[in-house]
Symmetry: C2
Subunit: 334 residues, 2 copies
């Protein structure tokens, strides 16, 4: 692990939407991957899904070698014995502490003492999860975005017991996978991205419940406002482009109007009660017939490729070359 | 006004960053534009800035005719007498109620009774502003995004006295300008987009004040997470792609952790105290030398064109053609 190399075998445990997508990212980065299905019956559909995603990655120009090269380096299994040689194990099972505990115990019983175990959780503190493994200092949060093989987002999070050196090794690994990892030294609930996004969900869902807007209009404004700049810059760089003249007025007037609720908005409870999986089972916040769900999935697959390519023109690396002395963390003193 | 046509003369009052950009959008849409500088000394630099923006619009393929055609249809002035023939007047002066009041009184004294007056405000309620004009039913909020000639965002907002038919006429006008307007029937503070964005600012600035993250890292996660999907879809369509399995857990755990503050975060007070205009005067949340500020402005100009073109491939119109029976507001019943 100290000499992380592309052909180091790695494991992914949990082969849902995110897990399958992470498997493809790791394969595309050169790793042999043991893809472990902890749920009975998940193995066959997961293999099919992963191969489909590999095809999408190939069509998007992300694979250096032919499809079969990667398929041969993939092993889908239900047997924990097969992860024995893996020094990096990414867990992405559901957000249930008891289930995760059981999974970690099985992983820890099968890997070497110096393996790193990473969780994709964004709902449960790393500090709580690392109590379930014998080497908590080698346990870290690694939070991916979907589709994992076409996004640059990655949050690496330390629990209270995590060795910072281990977390920094994982950041380097993340860079070798083409990510732009952020390192969170303190294990705050929801890390950063989820806190920002749940702040948006809370406000938007409350406005909808109050009849002030619709989900579709909230989507529309977010899409056409944020969508016009965020692939280049975050919210604060955006402020540097807009100036600060009117911000104080807006902070003074708006903050006291924003929702401070902590109960679950009822649209969300309803979706879970209805087992809504959105486009995947055609029950979601929007309605879809089979044809529409398929068309949306195709549009998203095309879009992933397009936005990945566009973002590549404005990656940190590109900006470093285009903008002299650019340092990503160079902020004026606060 | 009932027969809104591209060559209908319109006026823009206030020629700062947004005002100049709106002038270009209206010129590019075919209108002759009276650009009124209410601040002494603003006229000359505004003319220069507008012509620069027209050049950017031309280089981006947004102008059907040559640059001079548009320059000849532009009149920059300080004289309110020149807006007499305009049946649509867009105000975008600073967010100061007393100043806006004075501006509206001057506008109303010079235009025809059936003119529509629109404010770009996002900080002051339309219901309060429309009290300053003799025909409040013809007063409406029209909130643009920067750069106005290359974004599709537009919020049309009714005050309590606004005639809904007038607001709907403005929505149609917005469509003729290539926008995707949302219509807000009720004048809620901050409309929709600002409430969503201030919810993000509140949370992110609080995390920074607490030492949990940095502005640069908050920017990075937002950029690489949201930036990977938002140009195609809003936050709720995104949920339909991710499924809802873990959302309840996250709502239950996260909402009670989010910031509920209503005071102005100190980074913002500091920016205003320092007269920070970001890249424009090289004082902002990030630091810039002259070369870096210029490089960022150039990167943004290039990016605007790229993202506008990419978004065009996934516009509402494109989605309607690609996705059978697509209806933007077709939501499952809540």
């Amino acid at each position: 692990m100290n000499n992380a190399r592309p052909n180091m075998p790695v494991a992914v445990v949990g082969l849902g939407l995110m897990g399958s997508s992470i498997v493809v990212s790791l394969l595309a980065s050169g790793h042999p991957v043991i893809a472990l299905a902890p749920v009975p019956g998940e193995k066959e559909p997961a293999l099919q899904h992963i191969v489909d995603l590999l095809r999408h990655a190939e069509a998007s120009g992300l694979l250096v070698k032919g499809l079969n090269h990667y398929v041969q380096r993939l092993r889908v299994t239900e047997d924990y014995n097969e992860i024995a040689a893996c020094h990096f194990v990414q867990e992405c099972v559901i957000e249930d502490k008891a289930i995760k505990k059981m999974v970690y115990q099985k992983i820890a019983a099968h890997v070497a003492d110096d393996a790193i175990i990473a969780s994709n959780t964004s709902a449960i503190p790393i500090s709580e999860l690392q109590e379930f493994v014998p080497a908590p200092h080698r346990f870290v949060g690694v939070h991916w975005a979907e589709p994992a093989y076409m996004t640059r987002f990655m949050e690496v999070t330390c629990g209270t017991a995590t060795d910072l050196g281990i977390a920094e090794q994982v950041v380097q690994l993340g860079k070798s996978w083409g990510k732009e990892p952020t390192l969170l030294r303190k294990d705050i609930r929801g890390f950063i991205t989820n806190r920002l996004m749940y702040a948006v969900y809370r406000e938007a869902l409350t406005l909808v419940e109050n009849g002030d807007t619709t989900l579709a209009d909230a989507d529309k404004v977010f899409r056409y406002d944020v969508g016009s700049w965020v692939t280049l810059m975050g919210v604060f760089r955006r402020m540097d482009f807009m100036g600060f003249g009117d911000y104080i007025t807006s902070f003074e007037r708006l903050l006291k109007e924003l929702s401070n609720r902590s109960d679950v908005p009822r649209q969300m409870s309803r979706m879970v009660a209805e087992d809504a999986k959105g486009v995947h089972n055609r029950r979601g916040l929007y309605t879809y017939n089979e044809e529409q769900a398929k068309a949306w999935e195709e549009a998203f697959a095309r879009f992933n490729k397009d936005i990945y390519e566009l973002a590549s023109k404005y990656s940190e690396q590109q900006l470093i070359e285009a903008i002299p002395y650019y340092e990503e963390n160079k902020l004026s003193k606060i």
